[in-house]
Symmetry: C2
Subunit: 209 residues, 2 copies
Amino acid sequence: MTQHETKNKILDVAEKLFAEAGYKATSLRAITSMAGVNLAAVNYHFGSKEGLISAVIERRLVPLNKSRLEQLHRVLVEAADQSLQANVVIRAFVEPTLMFTETLPSGKNFLTLVGRALAEPDETVRKIFIHNMQEVMTVMREALGRSLPDLPSDVLFWRLNFLIGALSHTMRCIEKCPMALEGGVARDAASLAALIVPFLTAGMEAPHA
Amino acid sequence: MTQHETKNKILDVAEKLFAEAGYKATSLRAITSMAGVNLAAVNYHFGSKEGLISAVIERRLVPLNKSRLEQLHRVLVEAADQSLQANVVIRAFVEPTLMFTETLPSGKNFLTLVGRALAEPDETVRKIFIHNMQEVMTVMREALGRSLPDLPSDVLFWRLNFLIGALSHTMRCIEKCPMALEGGVARDAASLAALIVPFLTAGMEAPHA
DNA sequence: CACTCATTCAAACGTTTGTTTTAAATGGGG
DNA sequence: CCCCATTTAAAACAAACGTTTGAATGAGTG
């Protein structure tokens, strides 16, 4: 097995097991044995378990955020002179996110993993995630601010948090909805995006006291 | 130290440490040493670590859900003949939740803990939480359905999930917002509720395709 | 006082964890 | 062909984990 194959096999299995059982509860022995590689390979290639989770997250989050930034910059340029609509900004952020499940076979695993990152008690994981989200969050905030010029800064801040909360919960629900009430119909990523964008847009545009 | 004191001291410390570091990463030794009790006391009084987290959650979640159900039943009765407004239903659910921080000194710890429950990778914790949420979620769904009679069942289902996601993220943000962008102003529970209710109401009432 | 029994205690149990260290085998690129 | 990064197997490491045990404690009761 070549170096490239070994590293990728570890990343694939780790992504799957981290998504299923969480970072803390997944042992390196479970990962390496399922990947069919030696236990020492993780420390050899990634330095530590922390290096592994970092690599697992960044392997997919960097391209995803690149895609989100492209979409955001596109709608910002297209609306350079005209008014920028909130639903356009929100769609630019949400669609690359949810569509990620269909870009890769392991897309659902990754969305589960990263959708849990903000709620992760382990500071290690949270810091890796937040560090990678800094830029796109700043741009997102500016874009939303431009589309909602009458919204006070701190109201915008909290509504952006509500948006992030709703979206990250939805990302976790794609693989398996934890609260499945009877009659909860599964949705593909596209129709889920079509459902959540109007919800978030209305919330962002809601009147405030 | 009486039995009552021992059990409560363990519950208080466990609530705090579980909120800070999560269920898996918090050891019984850390809990018992901080509580000033013997290590074996946990297994003696709660049977197991799982029994402890169950007791920690239910000690506060049962009264909280009782309060939420009271509010929901109240608004359902008051609007028995007239039309039921979505913002009234949402406020009946959200306000007891966020106000919980001011009912008890450890309210923020508990909200952090339970706000993370749905994202918890450990199936044990998730099942305890979901089991305790079943009834109030059913009532909440019925109430929202009555206030939004034109909303298809599966759209209501997903929007309720968006609501839960936004609220649970907010619950975790009360103690410490993980994504703190510059200019993020802290809010007390009351003004946070006043911020999130219009957001969620507009989202629930948004037009759908 | 003696007895009871729930509670507390120190100590140890067996298991699992991440990590490191051996040494030998492997195999692709210069 | 040979070098060297890589892979492997095996073992050991110290540390931390949840749980169990059996003796000590001590307040309440007859």
